[in-house]
Every structure is written in structure tokens, then in C-alpha cells.
């Protein structure tokens, strides 16, 4: 994959993740998750600028590539607009307008919920790969991203090793959430 491709891929993954997060911030009227969406919007802006600068540079040296970049830019704009919409959903929570019961109930009607859990040092997840843990089968919650410091790993592969301090973002049925949180905090010690 070349540079534009990987930048565009990150843009796309980030935007989809933002939508997931934004809707789930509504479910519990969760300010922390809503703020995460806004943080990611900032990352999207940086990425977009990088893509545009890259295109400017390559376009100067290889004008024949420009038609392909038109496509990239159109896609980029659509993706950015999705991200902005996600931020606008999170903004509802940040403005304190997320309390209306209709909002929570309409999100609940949907099938899955999202949880964010920080892995404690005493959790049995520490130093294990996602492959050996098979969290989906054991807890019912699927890891859609891991936040490590300021970096996100989207859709982490089976080889990814969980570290203490990682924030796991997982999707699954509401009734599985508690067990998952307890496993991450170390309260529960058996999968």
C-alpha cells in the first residue's frame, strides 16, 4: 500500500470508529466517550491536511497522477463529512442535551452496545494475545479498537498483545458488558 492509501485507510477507519463511539456516547449520556469523538475529529483534520499536502507534492512532480487524486479527494471529503456528523452527535452529549429518554431508548433498541474498559495491571488479559484470549467467544464482547497512549489500533489482529493501561473498546450485547469490565479491571479472574 502506498502512502496515500494508508492515510486514506486510517481516515476511513477513524471515521467509522467515530460514528460507533458517537452513538454509544448517547446511550449512557457519556461525556468521556463524547470527548473522545471530538479528540478524533482533531486527528482527522491533521490527516486530511497531510493527504492534501502529499497530493500537492506528488501532483507537481507527476501531473499524470492528478486524475486519480481527484478520486481520493472526493472520497476524503465524504469521509470527513461522516466524521463531522459523528462529532455533531457527540456534541449533543457535550451540550447536556443527551438526557432525553427518547434518545437513550432509541439507541437501546439497536442491537449492540459499546464499552470502554481500561486494563488494570492485575487483569488476566495483560501480556496475552487477542488470539489466545478469544474474548468474543468468552465474554460476548468484541474488541473493535485499543487505545494505547494517544494511539489507536483499529480492529486489532489476533497477534496483538494486551498491555496494562490499554483502553479496550468493545462491542457486544448489553448483558455481556459487566463481565467484560470485570475481566479488564481484574475483579474477575477467569474467562
Amino acid at each position: 500500500m502506498n502512502k496515500v492509501e494508508s492515510m486514506l485507510l486510517e481516515l476511513k477507519d477513524t471515521s467509522e470508529f467515530m460514528v460507533d463511539l458517537a452513538y454509544s456516547s448517547l446511550l449512557y449520556n457519556n461525556v468521556e466517550i463524547a470527548e473522545e469523538v471530538i479528540f478524533l475529529e482533531g486527528k482527522m483534520d491533521e490527516l486530511s491536511i497531510q493527504i492534501q499536502q502529499y497530493i500537492e507534492n506528488v501532483g507537481r512532480e507527476h501531473p499524470e497522477e492528478i486524475p486519480k487524486f481527484t478520486f481520493v479527494l472526493r472520497l476524503q471529503m465524504a469521509i470527513e463529512d461522516i466524521a463531522n456528523a459523528a462529532a455533531s452527535i457527540a456534541d449533543v452529549v457535550l451540550r447536556g442535551l443527551g438526557e432525553h429518554p427518547v434518545i437513550q431508548m432509541s439507541i437501546q433498541e439497536s442491537e449492540a452496545t459499546i464499552e470502554m474498559a481500561t486494563v488494570s495491571e492485575r487483569s488476566i488479559l495483560v501480556n496475552k494475545t487477542l488470539g489466545e484470549l478469544a474474548l468474543g467467544s468468552h465474554t460476548g464482547m468484541y474488541i473493535i479498537a485499543i487505545k494505547r497512549g494517544a494511539q489507536y489500533i483499529y480492529g486489532p489482529g489476533k497477534e496483538v498483545v494486551i498491555q496494562a493501561g490499554d483502553a479496550l473498546i468493545a462491542k457486544g450485547p448489553e448483558e455481556s458488558a459487566d463481565f467484560f469490565m470485570d475481566i479488564a479491571s481484574g475483579e474477575e479472574t477467569e474467562l
Binding site: M1, V4, E5, L8, L9, K12, D13, E16, V19, A22, Y23, L26, P67, K68, F71, V72, R74, L75, M77, A78, I79, D81, I82, N84, A85, A86, S88, I89, D91, V92, R95, L97, G98, E99, H100, V102, I103, M105, S106, I107, E109, S110, E111, A112, L130, A134, L135, G136, S137, G140, Y142, I143, I144, Y154, G155, G157, K158, K171, G172, P173
Partner: protein
């Protein structure tokens, strides 16, 4: 006035509650983006048409929810709370419009259309087609009863049946042996869903509440 209200009353969504409309808009805004990328990946005009259809539906839903919330507002406090609902509805509609922009890229001739397949294939949330075996106890059940996403984290975006494709299938659609369900999700969930689909594992139906006949 009469003409406009006539138009409004003809909307299907008029019989839905605000909550139902919002749920519908949220769900549609998620599946439409999946379908849009999938249409580019499979180069599918049919999927792109479905995206445009959902985009139109969203427009109607947004209109209906606007009118309904405006009617419900009786005070400044009401209006504040309801404005949050409208903000969400607008955002969901905006997402569907962006999906509409994405499928327009299908019109770009192939030689000017780089990258995209790689990007979707490499993307963390991949698509997969899973065949339903006659041994699977998913057979004969509706998507609503199965709640596939809750159990496996994988979202059903389309079904390929013997009669043809169903995009963004409704909850009352039944799964048949031999169908291919097209899902978007993660490896972990795909593995699990494949076991159910092949009949290697019994489906774990959610418990049904007493007196709930759905």
C-alpha cells in the same frame, strides 16, 4: 398549506413515534455506509441504487421527525431537549448523504479509480460472505430473532438468496439454507458466526420475555 401537509401525511414514517424514527435513522446511517463501501468494492450498481433509496428514505424520516418534535415542544425546556434529538437526526441524515457521495464514485472510470479496493480489503472491519448450511439452526429464523450483531459483533448488510439479493434486509427476513449472508465485522466474530452457520454450534437465542410475541 394543504398541499404541503398532504405531502407530509403521505409519508410512511408519519405513523412512527419519534423514538422509532430515531432508531431507524441510526440503524440506517450505519448500514448505508457499509453498503456504500461494499458497492465500490464489488463494483455493484444494485448496491449503489439501494444506497440512493435509503438516502431518500432518510430524507423523509428527517422531515417526519422534525415535524413531530416541533409539534411536541411546549416550552423552552422542551425545545432544548428536543433540539438534541433533531441534531442527531440531522447528523444521521448527513451520514447517509455522504454515503450517497461515496457511491457516486462508481461513475468514475476504472482507470481513474485507484486505491479503493486495497483500502477496503485492508480495512480493519472487513466484509465476508458466509453460507448458511441446512444443518444450521439459524435456518427458518428471522434476522430480528437471531440478533446476529449482538451475538457475533458482525452486522448483516445483505443476503444473497436463490431468488436474488436483499440489501439492508429487514428484521422480518428469514434465513434459508443455501443463503449467503454478507456481513461486516471482525475475524473473531466471523469465526464464531461461521460455526453457527455451518451448524457446528447451536445458536444462542436471546431469552424471550413472557407475553412478548415477537
Amino acid at each position: 398549506m394543504s398541499e404541503n401537509s398532504g405531502e407530509y401525511l403521505s409519508l410512511d414514517s408519519i405513523d412512527m413515534t419519534v423514538q422509532e424514527i430515531l432508531t431507524e435513522m441510526k440503524d440506517k446511517s450505519e448500514v448505508i455506509v457499509d453498503l456504500a463501501y461494499a458497492s465500490l468494492m464489488y463494483n455493484s450498481r444494485d448496491m449503489a441504487d439501494k444506497v440512493s433509496e435509503i438516502e431518500d428514505e432518510m430524507e423523509d424520516l428527517k422531515y417526519a421527525i422534525r415535524v413531530k418534535t416541533l409539534v411536541a415542544a411546549r416550552s423552552i425546556e422542551d425545545a432544548k431537549q428536543l433540539s438534541g434529538i433533531l441534531q442527531i437526526a440531522s447528523a444521521a441524515d448527513r451520514i447517509s448523504q455522504s454515503a450517497g457521495e461515496i457511491v457516486k464514485l462508481l461513475d468514475v472510470p476504472a482507470e481513474k479509480r485507484p486505491f479503493i479496493n486495497n483500502i477496503i480489503r485492508e480495512s480493519d472491519e472487513k466484509f465476508r460472505a458466509i453460507r448458511i448450511s441446512d444443518k444450521s439452526d439459524m435456518v427458518g429464523n428471522t434476522l430480528g430473532r437471531l440478533a446476529v450483531e449482538a451475538l457475533t459483533g458482525a452486522r448483516v448488510i445483505a443476503i444473497k438468496t436463490r431468488r436474488g439479493w436483499i440489501y439492508d434486509p429487514d428484521d422480518d427476513i428469514k434465513v434459508h439454507a443455501g443463503d449467503d449472508i454478507i456481513v461486516r465485522g471482525f475475524d473473531d466474530g466471523f469465526d464464531r458466526l461461521t460455526e453457527y452457520a455451518q451448524g457446528k454450534k447451536p445458536w444462542e437465542f436471546p431469552e424471550i420475555e413472557e407475553g412478548d410475541d415477537e
